[in-house]
C-alpha cells in the first residue's frame, strides 16, 4: 500500500503546478518538492527492512490470465535507485527554481519534471515487467517534453526528436524482448522470472531475446552506436541535463541490465556483447569528450563514457564487478549532477559555456571553483574521492579478467580510458577556472539557491570517499545482493596497499596529465564525424521517400474516391476470378406484384436524383421517397424494427437536408446537365459489382452456421423479451449499443461545436401557417403517446429506445417547424446536451449496477411484476438501458438539428 503511495506521489506532484498557479514559481516548486519529499520520507521508512535483506511488495491483481497486475517491489537495487531518483529530484527542483528565468513557463516545466520523476520511479519499483514497460515508455515521452522544453530553439526540437526516435525505437525492441522473456519464464512477475535462470538461458529464444533487451537498454543508456542522442539532448535546460543524464534517464538502461542480471548474465553472449559494447562506449565517449568545446557537450560525452564503464562492469558477470557497478552508479550520479549544475552556474554568470571563451574564474567564483574541483576530481578518480574508489574497483576487476584471450588487454584498455577521463576532467577544470583570462564584467558566484544543490552533491562525494563503509557500505551491499541474487557483503576501503590496481590508477592519473599537455596539439586532429548528422540524414531520407509516396496522391476528393471504388471493384473481380465458388443452391423467393411495383418506383426515384440536382427541394423529396421505399422493403422482408427506424430516421434526415438547403447555394443547371463519362462508367461498374455480390450472396446459404440461433433461443429465458432484435440491442450486444449511443452523442456535440462561431446565413422570413401550427400543437401529446407506446412494447414487439427517441425528436421538431425555434424554446426549456448526458449516464449506470454484486458490466435482470388492476407483466432492467438509448437519441437529434437551425438566422 505504502509503495503504491510512493509511486503515486510524483504524479500527484505533477498536478501541483496546475493547482498552485497563483502561488508563483516558489509556491509551485514547493508543492512539487513536498510531494517528492514525502515520497522520499516514506521510502526511508521502508529502508531499514530492505537494508536488513527483506523485499517489500504490494500487489493488486487485475487480469491474471494475461499476467497484468499492479505490482510494486522494493529490494536493495530498487531502494538505491528510488533514493537517487527522489533525492536528486529534490535537489534538481531546488536548483531549477533559481535557474529558470521569469520568461520560462515554470508550471509546465515542473509538471514535466514530476511526470518524468514518477515514470522513472515506476520503472525501478515495478514488480511486473509489463508494468515496467509502461513506465519505460513514459520516461521516453516525458524526456521528449523536457529536452524540447525550449521549443523555440531549433536544436532543442532536434535533440528532443532524436532522443524520442531512438529511445522510442529501443522501447519497441524492449517490449518484444521482455514479452519473450515473460513467455519463456511463464510469468510477468519479476520475482518469478529472476528465479528461472536455467530455463531462460537454455531456451532457444535466449539470443534473440537478449539482443532485443540489450537494444532497449543500450539506446536508453546511450551505448555505442546509439551514443549520439545524449549530446543532442544537451539543448535541454541545465536542470534537466543534471537530472536526466546523471541519475535517471540514462541510468534506466543500466538499471535494466542490473535488474535482469540474475537471469541473463553469465553466458558467453552476454559477456561478449555487454562487455564489448561497454568498453567501446567507454573509450569512444572519453576520446570524444577531449575534443568538445561546449562544457555541456564535454559532460555529455563523459557521461557516455561513464555509462560504458558501468555497462562493462555489469558485463563481466562477477560479484565484485557488480559491487563496483552499483557503487559507481551512485558516485557517477553525485559528481555528474554536481558538474552539470556547475556548468549551468558558469553559463548563467559568464553568459558563455564554451571552453574557448572561459578561463580564470577560480578567483572570481571561489565557491563554484571548490564545488567543481571536488566533483571533477571524483570524476577523474583521484583519492580520496568516491569516484576513485569505484574506479579502482573497476581497474582491479579488469586486471583479473581474461579478455580477448589475454590477461592484460582489458586492464590496458580500461587504464587508457581512465587516463582519457582524467584528461577531459582536468580540461574542464583548467579551461574554466584557471588561466589568465581577464573579464570586462567579472562573473560572480550566484546565491545559495543555485549553489546549495551542487555543493551538497560534491561534499557527499567527498564524504563517501573518506568513510565509504559507514555511508554507503550497507546500501551497496543490499543493492549488489539484489543484482547478483546472492547475499553480498561489499568491502570498500580507501587504502588497499600497493597492489596492481593502485599502480594502474597512478598510471591513469599520470596519463591524464600527459593528455592535458598534448591537448593543444590534439585539437588540430580532424574532428570525428558526428553520428547525429548521419542519423538526421537517414531520417531525412525516409521522410523524403514518404513525401514522394504521398505526393503521388491527389489532394482532391473525387479522384481519391474514384480510385477507392476502382480498387474495390478490381479486388472483387480478382477474388471472383481466382477463387473457387459453387453455383447458388438456395430456393429463390418469387417476386410478387406489389414489391415489383414498389421496386420500380425506387429505381425511378433514385435514377432521377442526379438529373434534378438543380431543383434541390425536388432532389431531397426524391431521396425521401427512396428512403420510404427502403423502409417498405424492410417491412415486407420481415424486419419491422428496421422499417420503423428507417421511417423515423428518414423524417429527421429530410428535415435536416431541407434546413441545410436554405443555406447552401444552388447547383447550376449547366453543371447538372454536363455528362461525366468517366464518373458514369465508374458508377456503373460499382453498381454492377454490388448487384453481383448481393445476388451471389442471396442465392447461397450461409457459409457457416449463423450464431443467431443462440440469440433466438435465449431471447425469452435469458433476456425476458420476445423481440429478438431488441433483446440483441439492449441485452446480448448492449455493449455495442452503448458505444453507438456515445458515438451519436459525440457527433451531435461535434455539430454543435462546429456551429459555434460560424457566421449566420441570411435566412428568408419563415411563415408559420395557422393551420399547420394548430394541428401540430394538437397532435403533440398524441405523438408523445406513440413514443411511449413504442418504447414500452419494444422489448416484445417492434419498437424500442431508438424508435421512441426518434419519435420524440420528431414531435418536438414538428413544433419547431410549425411555430418557430424561439416559440418552441420559450415553452420547452430542454437542454439537449443534458439530455445526451442523461442518456449516456443512465446506460452507464445500468452497466455499472450489476458490477456492485460482482457480475459483469451491463448484465441484466428480469422478472414478473404484478400491479393491482393489471395483468402480471414482465419487466427487464434492460429497459432502463433502453431508456438511456432513447434519451441519448432524442438529445442528439434535437441538438444536431437545432444547431443547424440557429445558423439560418431566422427572421422575427
Amino acid at each position: 500500500m505504502l509503495l503504491a503511495l510512493i509511486a503515486a506521489l510524483p504524479f500527484a506532484g505533477a498536478m501541483m503546478p496546475a493547482l498552485l498557479r497563483g502561488a508563483g514559481r516558489s509556491g509551485m516548486t514547493l508543492g512539487c518538492a513536498a510531494a517528492t519529499g514525502l515520497a522520499f520520507v516514506l521510502l526511508m521508512t521502508q529502508a531499514p527492512a530492505v537494508l536488513a535483506g527483506a523485499v517489500v511488495e504490494a500487489r493488486w491483481v487485475w487480469l491474471p490470465a494475461l499476467g497484468l497486475e499492479a505490482h510494486f517491489r522494493l529490494d536493495g537495487l530498487a531502494l538505491l535507485f528510488a533514493g537517487l531518483i527522489l533525492g536528486m529530484g529534490l535537489l534538481v527542483l531546488l536548483y531549477a527554481r533559481f535557474y529558470l528565468s521569469e520568461r520560462d513557463n515554470a508550471a509546465s516545466f515542473l509538471g514535466y519534471l514530476m511526470l518524468f520523476q514518477g515514470a522513472m520511479l515506476g520503472i525501478v519499483i515495478s514488480g511486473n515487467i509489463l508494468m515496467m514497460l509502461v513506465f519505460w515508455e513514459m520516461t521516453s515521452l516525458a524526456s521528449f517534453l523536457l529536452i524540447g522544453f525550449w521549443h523555440h530553439k531549433p536544436e532543442a526540437r532536434r535533440g528532443a526528436m532524436i532522443s524520442l526516435a531512438l529511445t522510442g525505437a529501443g522501447g519497441l525492441a524492449l517490449i518484444a524482448g521482455l514479452l519473450m522473456l515473460g513467455q519463456i519464464a511463464g510469468s510477468s512477475d519479476l520475482s518469478v522470472i529472476l528465479a528461472q535462470r536455467d530455463v531462460v538461458q537454455d531456451s532457444p529464444l535466449y539470443l534473440p531475446m537478449l539482443l532485443l533487451i540489450l537494444l532497449g537498454a543500450f539506446t536508453k543508456s546511450a551505448q555505442v552506436p546509439f551514443q549520439f542522442w545524449l549530446p543532442q539532448a544537451m539543448a535541454a535546460p541545465t536542470p534537466v541535463s543534471a537530472y536526466l543524464h546523471s541519475a535517471t534517464m540514462v541510468k534506466a538502461g543500466i538499471f535494466l541490465l542490473a535488474r535482469l542480471w540474475p537471469v541473463l548474465s553469465g553466458t558467453p553472449e552476454w559477456v561478449a556483447l555487454v562487455t564489448g559494447f561497454g568498453l567501446a562506449t567507454m573509450l569512444l565517449g572519453a576520446w570524444l569528450a577531449l575534443f568538445k568545446d561546449d562544457l555541456k557537450a564535454l559532460l555529455a560525452y563523459s557521461t557516455v563514457s561513464q555509462l560504458g564503464l558501468i555497462t562493462l562492469l555489469l558485463g563481466l558477470g562477477t560479484t565484485a564487478a557488480a559491487v563496483a557497478a552499483v557503487f559507481h552508479i551512485v558516485n557517477h550520479a553525485l559528481f555528474k549532477a554536481a558538474l552539470f549544475m556547475t556548468a549551468g552556474i558558469v553559463d548563467h554568470a559568464a553568459h558563455d559555456r564554451s571552453i574557448a571563451g572561459l578561463g580564470g574564474l577560480a578567483r572570481l567564483m571561489p565557491i563554484s571553483f571548490g564545488v567543481a574541483t571536488l566533483a571533477v576530481l571524483s570524476m577523474a578518480g583521484v583519492p580520496p574521492l568516491a569516484g576513485f574508489l569505484s574506479k579502482e574497483m573497476l581497474v582491479e576487476e579488469a586486471a583479473r579478467t581474461t579478455f580477448a584471450g589475454s590477461g592484460w588487454v582489458l586492464a590496458a584498455l580500461v587504464t587508457l580510458a581512465a587516463a582519457l577521463s582524467v584528461g577531459y576532467s582536468l580540461r574542464f577544470l583548467v579551461a574554466v577556472f584557471l588561466g589568465p583570462k581577464l573579464w570586462a564584467a567579472p562573473p560572480r558566484d550566484p546565491g545559495a539557491g543555485l549553489l546549495l544543490a551542487p555543493a551538497l552533491l560534491a561534499l557527499a562525494g567527498l564524504a563517501i570517499g573518506v568513510a565509504p563503509m559507514l555511508l554507503a557500505g550497507d546500501l551497496v551491499s543490499v543493492a549488489a545482493s539484489a543484482v547478483t541474487g546472492d547475499p553480498v557483503q561489499a568491502k570498500i576501503a580507501l587504502w588497499h596497499g600497493p597492489n596492481t590496481a593502485l599502480w594502474l590508477s597512478v598510471a591513469a592519473i599520470g596519463g591524464g596529465f600527459v593528455w592535458l599537455g598534448l591537448e593543444p596539439r590534439l585539437q588540430r586532429l580532424p574532428a570525428a564525424p558526428d553520428a547525429a548528422n548521419g542519423f538526421a540524414r537517414g531520417l531525412q531520407f525516409l521522410t523524403d521517400i514518404a513525401g514522394r509516396v504521398t505526393s503521388a496522391q491527389s489532394d482532391r476528393l473525387a479522384p481519391m474516391l474514384g480510385l477507392l471504388v476502382l480498387a474495390a471493384a478490381g479486388l472483387g473481380l480478382l477474388a471472383f476470378l481466382t477463387g473457387q465458388h459453387l453455383p447458388g443452391s438456395t430456393a429463390l423467393v418469387l417476386p410478387e406484384l406489389a414489391p415489383t411495383v414498389v421496386w420500380t418506383g425506387l429505381i425511378a426515384a433514385v435514377i432521377a436524383v442526379p438529373f434534378v440536382l438543380h431543383n434541390r427541394v425536388l432532389s431531397v423529396a426524391l431521396m425521401g421517397l427512396a428512403g420510404l421505399v427502403v423502409a417498405l422493403g424492410f417491412a415486407y422482408m420481415a424486419a419491422p424494427d428496421l422499417a420503423l427506424t428507417q421511417i423515423s430516421v428518414e423524417v429527421v434526415t429530410i428535415l435536416l437536408l431541407l434546413l441545410a438547403l436554405g443555406i447552401l447555394p444552388t447547383i447550376s443547371v449547366r453543371d447538372v446537365a454536363r455528362p461525366r463519362l468517366p464518373q458514369l462508367c465508374l458508377a456503373i461498374v460499382a453498381g454492377l459489382g454490388m448487384t453481383a455480390l448481393a445476388y451471389a450472396m442471396l442465392a447461397r446459404g450461409a457459409a457457416f452456421e449463423p450464431i443467431s440461433a443462440f440469440h433466438i433461443a435465449q431471447s425469452v429465458p435469458g433476456a425476458g423479451g420476445t423481440n429478438a432484435v431488441n433483446t440483441i440491442i439492449v441485452d446480448f450486444r448492449s455493449y455495442d449499443t452503448y458505444g453507438e449511443i456515445i458515438v451519436l452523442g459525440i457527433a451531435a456535440l461535434v455539430i454543435a461545436a462546429l456551429s459555434e462561431g460560424l457566421p449566420r446565413a441570411p435566412g428568408p422570413r419563415v411563415a408559420h401557417p395557422i393551420i399547420f401550427t394548430s394541428v401540430s400543437q394538437l397532435l403533440f401529446p398524441f405523438v408523445l403517446l406513440v413514443a411511449v407506446h413504442m418504447f414500452l412494447r419494444g422489448h416484445n414487439l417492434p419498437g424500442g429506445g431508438f424508435v421512441a427517441g426518434l419519435v420524440v425528436a420528431i414531435a418536438l421538431l414538428m413544433q419547431v417547424m410549425a411555430s418557430g425555434q424561439d416559440w418552441t424554446a420559450r415553452r420547452m426549456r430542454l437542454n439537449t446536451t443534458m439530455l445526451i448526458s442523461a442518456g449516456v449516464l443512465t446506460a452507464t449506470g445500468m452497466g455499472l449496477w450489476p458490477m456492485l454484486t460482482g457480475r459483469p458490466f451491463l448484465s441484466s435482470n428480469h422478472g414478473y411484476v404484478t400491479l393491482p388492476g393489471l395483468a402480471p407483466f414482465e419487466l427487464a432492467t434492460a429497459m432502463v438501458f433502453d431508456l438511456g438509448v432513447m434519451l441519448c437519441v432524442t438529445g442528439a437529434v434535437l441538438l444536431a438539428l437545432s444547431s443547424i437551425t440557429r445558423l439560418r438566422g431566422e427572421a422575427h
Binding site: D555, A558, L561, G562, L588, V589, L590, P591, T596, V606, V609, L613, R616, M623, F634, M637, A638, A639, V649, L657, I663, L664, P665, D671, Q679, L680, L682, A683, A686, G687, L688, G689, M690, A692, L693, A694, Y695, L698, A702, S708, I712, T722, N723, A724, V725, R733, E740, V743, L744, A748, I751, S755, L758, P759, F802, V889, A892, A896, I900, L903
Partner: protein
C-alpha cells in the same frame, strides 16, 4: 425477389457513387446517403430473405435472422449522425469559404 433486392442495392450504389464523385458538397451528401441505404440493405441481406417471418418469438418459424437486423438498426441511426456531421461541415465550409465545393479553391 432476390434479384429485385440485389439490383436495388446496385442502383443505389451506382447513383450514390456518381453523386459522390461530383464536386459539390450537396451532391456528396446525397450520394453518401444513397450509399448508406445500399450498405444497410446489403448487411440486411446477409441474413437472407424470409418474407413474412419476423424475428418475434412466438410467431411463425423458422424466423428470419435477427442479428443482421440488430446491426443494421444501429447503423441506420449512426448514418443519420454521419449525414448530420457532413451537412454541418458543408455548411461551415460554405459560410466561411464562400463556395460549395469539396476541394479547396
Amino acid at each position: 425477389m432476390e434479384m429485385l433486392l440485389a439490383s436495388a442495392i446496385g442502383v443505389l450504389t451506382s447513383v450514390g457513387v456518381y453523386l459522390a464523385l461530383m464536386r459539390t458538397s450537396f451532391a456528396l451528401i446525397l450520394g453518401l446517403s444513397l450509399i448508406s441505404y445500399a450498405v444497410n440493405l446489403f448487411l440486411f441481406a446477409a441474413g437472407r430473405l424470409a418474407p413474412g417471418f419476423p424475428p418475434i418469438i412466438g410467431g411463425l418459424t423458422p424466423m428470419t435472422d435477427p442479428l443482421p437486423q440488430a446491426l443494421v438498426l444501429t447503423a441506420i441511426v449512426i448514418s443519420f449522425g454521419m449525414t448530420a456531421v457532413l451537412v454541418m461541415l458543408a455548411l461551415g465550409s460554405y459560410l466561411l469559404g464562400g463556395h460549395d465545393g469539396v476541394d479547396e479553391g
